[in-house]
């Protein structure tokens, strides 16, 4: 397998930024996100010979996501460490506190905090959709869930963000 590493460099590493961004949003800090990204890339390289072309970014993001979740489970200091129960968290308004109304949506840090406050499965769906521009189908493949689940996770994630960032939906909606 001559030049497997060069081939890997050209095929996979162009998607390193998407990989790091997802890892960083899931893990929550720079140092561990770097470790997770590197570990995911090494895993990708190990299985690179089995990669039959296709969407290299989606493939790498799938590995990053799995690596990140494994990391979260073995470092149980995060609430996300426990596999997310959507019924439990469903529709909860985490940011229904007085400060929420003071947040300014134009402030990058404020938006980041609001996203960071989302349950991890909502967060990964939102990051993949809004920050990485993935389609529902791609998100479904990466997260290993049906498209319908992706849809409902995105809906809930956005409602929570709207509340947190005081982009209130009009009252009278079903939510």
């Amino acid at each position: 397998m001559p030049n497997a590493s060069a081939n890997f460099d050209q095929t996979i590493l162009p998607h390193l930024e998407a990989a790091y961004n997802l890892a960083r949003w899931l893990i929550g800090n720079e140092r561990d996100a770097e470790d997770v990204t590197q570990e995911a890339c090494m895993r990708a390289f190990k299985f690179f010979s089995g990669f039959r072309g296709g969407d290299a970014r989606a493939w790498l993001l799938t590995i990053v996501r799995r690596t990140a979740w494994t990391w979260l489970r073995s470092n149980r200091r995060h609430e996300e460490a426990v596999e997310f129960d959507e019924e439990l968290h469903g529709g909860e308004d985490h940011s229904a506190n007085p400060e929420a109304s003071l947040m300014r949506a134009g402030d990058v840090e404020v938006v980041r905090q609001a996203i960071a406050a989302l349950p991890a499965v909502f967060r990964e769906a939102l990051v993949l959709r809004e920050l990485e521009g993935c389609s529902y189908k791609e998100i479904a493949d990466i997260a290993g869930v049906p498209v319908g689940t992706v849809m409902s996770r995105l809906t809930r994630a956005r409602r929570q963000l709207q509340t947190a960032l005081s982009i209130q939906p009009q009252s009278g909606g079903p939510s």
Binding site: S5, E17, N21, T37, Q38, M42, G173
Partner: protein, 251 residues
Amino acid sequence: MNCQQIQRLIHAHHDRELDAANTLQVDEHLADCPRCFTATRQLSALRDVLQNPELRYATPSGLRRTISAAVERSEKSERETIFSQPWFQRLGWAVAAVLLIGCFAVLHLSTARNEDHLLADLTASHVRSLMANHLTDVASTDQHTVKPWFDGKLDFAPTVKDLRESGFPLLGGRMDVIDGHPAAALVYGRQKHFLNLFVWPASQASPAEIRSTQRNGYNVIRWSDGKMTFGVVSDLNEAELREFVRDWSVK
């Protein structure tokens, strides 16, 4: 569709993930329903906020290089480990052993085939010499007549010995070809038996030891003194033939 159903679809509509039929229905509803239309406006507002490229975390500088290097290292060590793996080494030894055995087998086979070929040649020459009544080119019991006769006919000077005292009188000499080489054939008698002693320069493959074989009822003994190869063929029994060889070598 009522507002509740539309509210469920506006995210997918907003993400342009709805099929054409549903998109049309949602569009129609939004045109007539200010409340749902406002909801889509709010989704757009949220998207505007999320579209800020600064929200993405920048990849730390050096991470790419670190990963590239790690990948290259892993590739190299993988290539090295395959050679140092016990199974690979064992496989290597096994392959080497098989090759070695194969070499010996081929060598042995080819030597055996050469040997076989030589024996056939010696026996055939012996038989021909008897059948064609062409036993000798120079009929003489005198070794000093026989030896010079070969001068100029061969590119070597064969030793000619008379073994009359041992019961193997010299009868004469003849030119022959053994294994593609010109050879001197010395003819000896033993009572009513004839012996053909073929002499030709030794090649490297010539065995130094005496080899005795039987072929088509004839006994053949081959040996070499390092310079010359000898092959004696006769219908004499093996014991007497060995006696001849011993006497020839001693004298």
